[in-house]
Amino acid sequence: MTGFLQLFLNCLVLSANYILLAVGLTLIFGILRTLNFAHGSLYIVGAYIVYALFKMMGVNYFLAMVAAIIGVAGLGIFLEATVLFPMTKQKSFLTSLNAILGVSMVIEGALAFIFLGEDVTIGSVVTGTVSIFGATLSVERILVVILCGLVMLGVYVWIQKTKQGIAIRALAENPRVANMQGISTRFIRFLVIAISSTVAGVAGAIITPLFYLNPYMGGHLVFKALVIVAVGGMGSVEGSILAGLLIGFIEGIGLAYIGPIAEALSFVIIIAIFLFRPRGLLGVEYEFH
């Protein structure tokens, strides 16, 4: 029983990390119809802002987190204005893909130049462990799961219940009709990228104390997030949450009992999902920009 509970909690934490990354990416894809490969870099930038302010300058952790959120949101808006929106006018999908990959590399290079390539951390903000029916979990991890849940709930409620959320869904469904109703595409694009970047910044800020940072982690993370977005259904927030849980649990159980081959196993399951449901678990039809 204890073993099963420990495994369940481990998988929940793994899933929470994945979901936080994937939701921002799926929001961008749902509205902007763009695969934002720089999303992982935004996550890392958020983490480094917290590191620079909290660890290097001694600023309060929560203030550093707020600064990271604002900073990453600003960076996301800047990317939208200078790279993502201009690329929508290009006919070829590959052009925008190359541009976004280039942005990702520039961000990585800039971070490596400023902070060097070595591993750093902000250290544990809260310490201690909690025992739940014999299973052990650190307080940090519990906070990650709770914050992840709150962020997901916040994003979901905002999308479903607010005017801006309705506008976003309308634009995602049919941009032309939405425009005719007076919904500004440009404004909604900026809003979506700001929210998505904010989620990435929050993810970077809250996950940073658990692990270490280096400028090149973004690529591996965005790849994972893309897989989750694809499995959940491109543009579906609920799908990303479901896929994040599914992949987190498959990996957690697989790594504990099978070993490194569990990653390959998770891809076999993903392929099987696509064979039976090409649009993903809760996906809709889409086209790339």
Binding site: L116, E118, F211, Y212, E251, L255, A256
Partner: protein, 436 residues
């Protein structure tokens, strides 16, 4: 000197061509016979003087050419290290120490080969700790930078990337990768470091004899380095005399070790034997302590020099009881102590780095001087047959013919220390002391 000669010659020409002199050769010849004779005499005098000056200029110029030849040449050493990626902490500390070493030797005049003095120039390339990165770095150093030798590289994967180039281009490389194994098909790769097995044997002996451990759990990255470490652990299990609870192979880039640790730690090992990059080691320490593990954790690898930064990841309390290869000035020879002072001054944050990482380069420089040649075959012959002074008190000799099939290995003693506090370590023993 050359310009002085030019000046002298120029003056001579100026004299001859109606320069600022008392006798003006350009004036019309006077009719008077005596004056004519006088002028002839002066002409002869000046011609003789000019001849002497010319000969003098040639001699002085020749001296300048000889002097120019005697000025220092540059000996280019290419260092392939990871400056990005999981092994960046090792690469960055190596770079700092190697630059210190370069400064140390150049300030003492460099090296001399057959009367020709050479100053050392280090050129670095980032291998990203991957096979592809190693290959790219090797190509850059050999073909673009045209280095004379390769030094200081480590990591079985990057080395296997550039090693074929060293054979193809006959570039002698003195490396310090403990997991990579010398092979007869790579004759120009000479290793100066204790091997993975030697380090692991010393660590297991320390855990067994000094800390009372009876069982071990191995955790390694699922890459070439980790797989070689696992093979060695299985091969020498009996010799290490510890009950092996399990081998846990983790995918490269893993940051969440809870899925592995929560199952593996149930076997109750006395100590965890890690073969992972330093950042991963810190996370394993942190997470294993969170899961309630109270035993020792051993790391048969050099610690990143900046212990404080590393402890920031692992946690100061969690890292107590962690045993790894860390500095021990007691092992250094007088030369080693002197070099260490240079390194401490240039790399103040890398306090825990052991000089063993730089010893290969020192051995190579000695071998070049002894061989009196830059030919890799001549130097290799010297490396295989000569005893060398090192930064440690114990001299070094090549071996490895029985184990690897080629005598391209020199064992360096490594010091094991335990973390006892924030930036504080306690020396426990060296490879030689632990494996008599």
């Amino acid at each position: 000197m050359f310009f002085l000669n030019l000046y002298v010659l120029g003056k001579f020409v100026y004299f001859f061509k109606c320069g600022n002199v008392k006798i003006n050769m350009c004036r019309k010849r006077p009719r008077n016979k005596k004056i004519k004779e006088g002028i002839m005499l002066r002409k002869k005098f000046f011609m003789k003087a000019g001849g002497v000056l010319l000969i003098g200029a040639i001699i002085l110029g020749w001296g300048w050419i000889i002097e120019a030849k005697a000025e220092s040449k540059i000996l280019k050493l290419g260092a392939i290290n990871p400056f990005t990626g999981p092994a960046a902490p090792w690469g960055l500390q190596n770079k700092c120490y190697m630059e210190s070493l370069q400064r140390f030797f150049n300030e003492r005049g460099g090296i001399t080969v057959k009367g020709q003095n050479y100053k050392i120039e280090l050129i670095f390339a980032d291998d990203k700790y991957t096979v592809v990165g190693g290959r790219a770095a090797g190509e850059k150093l050999i073909y673009s930078d045209k280095v004379d030798f390769l030094v200081n590289s480590f990591g079985a994967e990057p080395i296997s990337g550039w090693a074929p180039l060293s054979v193809k281009e006959k570039k002698l490389a003195v490396i310090q990768g403990p997991t990579w194994v010398p092979k007869p098909e790579w004759p120009y790769l000479f290793r100066v470091v204790s091997s993975d097995n030697e380090r692991a044997e010393a660590l297991c002996s320390l855990m067994r004899e000094k800390l009372g451990c009876k069982s071990v759990l191995y955790i390694a990255t699922d890459d070439l380095v980790g797989k070689l470490a696992k093979e060695t652990a299985i091969k020498y299990e009996e010799k290490r005399a510890l009950e092996v609870k399990d081998f846990v192979m983790v995918p490269p880039g893993t940051t969440d070790f809870y899925p592995f640790l929560s199952k593996a730690l149930k076997t109750n090992p006395d100590y965890l034997h890690l073969k992972v990059p330093p950042g991963s080691a810190a996370l394993i320490i942190k997470q294993s302590r969170e899961l309630g593990f109270k035993g020792y954790i051993g790391y048969p690898t050099s610690m990143p020099g900046d212990l404080e930064k590393w402890q920031g990841i692992a946690g100061v309390e969690a890292s107590k009881g962690f045993v790894a290869i860390m500095i021990s000035p007691d092992l250094y020879s007088p030369l080693g102590a002197e070099v260490n002072k240079y390194c401490e001054k240039d790399c103040p944050t890398q306090k825990m780095t052991d000089l063993s990482a730089t010893m290969g380069t020192h051995i190579l420089l000695q071998a070049i001087e002894k061989a009196e040649s830059l030919d890799p075959d001549d130097i290799l012959k010297v490396l295989r047959t000569t005893e060398f002074q090192s930064f440690q008190k114990v001299p070094l000799r090549a071996g490895g013919e029985k184990t690897f099939g080629i005598k391209n290995h020199m064992t360096v003693s490594v010091p094991y220390s335990m973390i006892v506090g924030k930036n504080q370590v306690k020396y426990l023993g060296s490879y030689q002391e632990l494996t008599p």
